[in-house]
Symmetry: C2
Subunit: 217 residues, 2 copies
Amino acid sequence: MAARAHALLAVDVVTFALVNRRLRVRVVKIRRGPFAGSWAFPGGLVGAGESLEDVARREVNAAPAVDVHLEQLGTFGDPDRDPSARIVSTAYLALTPDVAAIGASERYLACDWQDALRLPPLAYDHGVMAAAAIERLRGKLGYTSIVRTLLPEEFTLSELQLAYEVILDRALDRRNFRKKLDATGMLVASGKRRRGPHRPAELYRFRERRLVSVDVL
Amino acid sequence: MAARAHALLAVDVVTFALVNRRLRVRVVKIRRGPFAGSWAFPGGLVGAGESLEDVARREVNAAPAVDVHLEQLGTFGDPDRDPSARIVSTAYLALTPDVAAIGASERYLACDWQDALRLPPLAYDHGVMAAAAIERLRGKLGYTSIVRTLLPEEFTLSELQLAYEVILDRALDRRNFRKKLDATGMLVASGKRRRGPHRPAELYRFRERRLVSVDVL
């Protein structure tokens, strides 16, 4: 590749979802270049007429009806992050309640949802991005209602606690957790109950769709 | 300018300093292009061999001996932010204890330190960057020891309170503030006193140079 005087800009997206009691992250297998065959986060160069969020939404590749939470994580620009070209990357954190709503892409050799806390080595500096994304998510879990963006519309309190435990990778005291939850006032009972093999459990939902500041952890 | 298929990347720096009981920010008057004659934050394109932080340090233009705090603020990429070229900008927040240590630059028509809370209209989306920088600084003032990076090595408690008040643009209750400060444990008495027209006041310094998490506000 010809030498360039200036850096180009890409956007990469770290998309998390809760699947089968695990925090999973969407990774793709790269088709070409020095990292061909390696896993990485999906991404693309920023075109002349696109905003960064446009590119991030395109790379998330979600069905239009799905409400994917998107926020800028940070911009990664070490000169040696990509041996083939001088590309700086702005990483976005994406959170989806529904893994089935995220499409695959034929630009890659493969697309997969892998355990976010036990990732294989990733291409470029995507391992650093992954760590930053998990740190951001865990941080916001403690002081906002962000967990909503990973959950279905209605859920039991046990399901909510499990979401926290899976992301934090540690057990929470049930009684303490419920007391804190109560104090946040962020939940409302839906009036419905979950049917199943166990005693029916009450279903809750979030009072507001927007992120609110709360003290959960 | 010829149309480009992809965006280029710049770094702009929002540098704050405390000068004469005001929070001041370094602005420059642009020499060329659609915003010639307007005030903006200093910045430059990211070269092929530079990290983002390299560019930020260059644009801060501080004397080597001065310890300037630098952190990434965010990346601003609306397609219409610059009418002359498709340039995305990563903004850095820079904090200096010494305004005299920051050099001028002949690339601009003028360099100035203006009142950060009463800025004139700025070029590009730099007004948005200014708001984001002030929000970040005020936020971190409440939960970290970041105020250290704007102060000289030693200071009185009144000077420290004034720094908070100037940045927050509101008065703080003296007794409450001192109680909270005490609880943080982030200060140590230097054993010296400030001489002057008033009763000599004890001088303090920060226990640690690194940013620590504290509950101040």
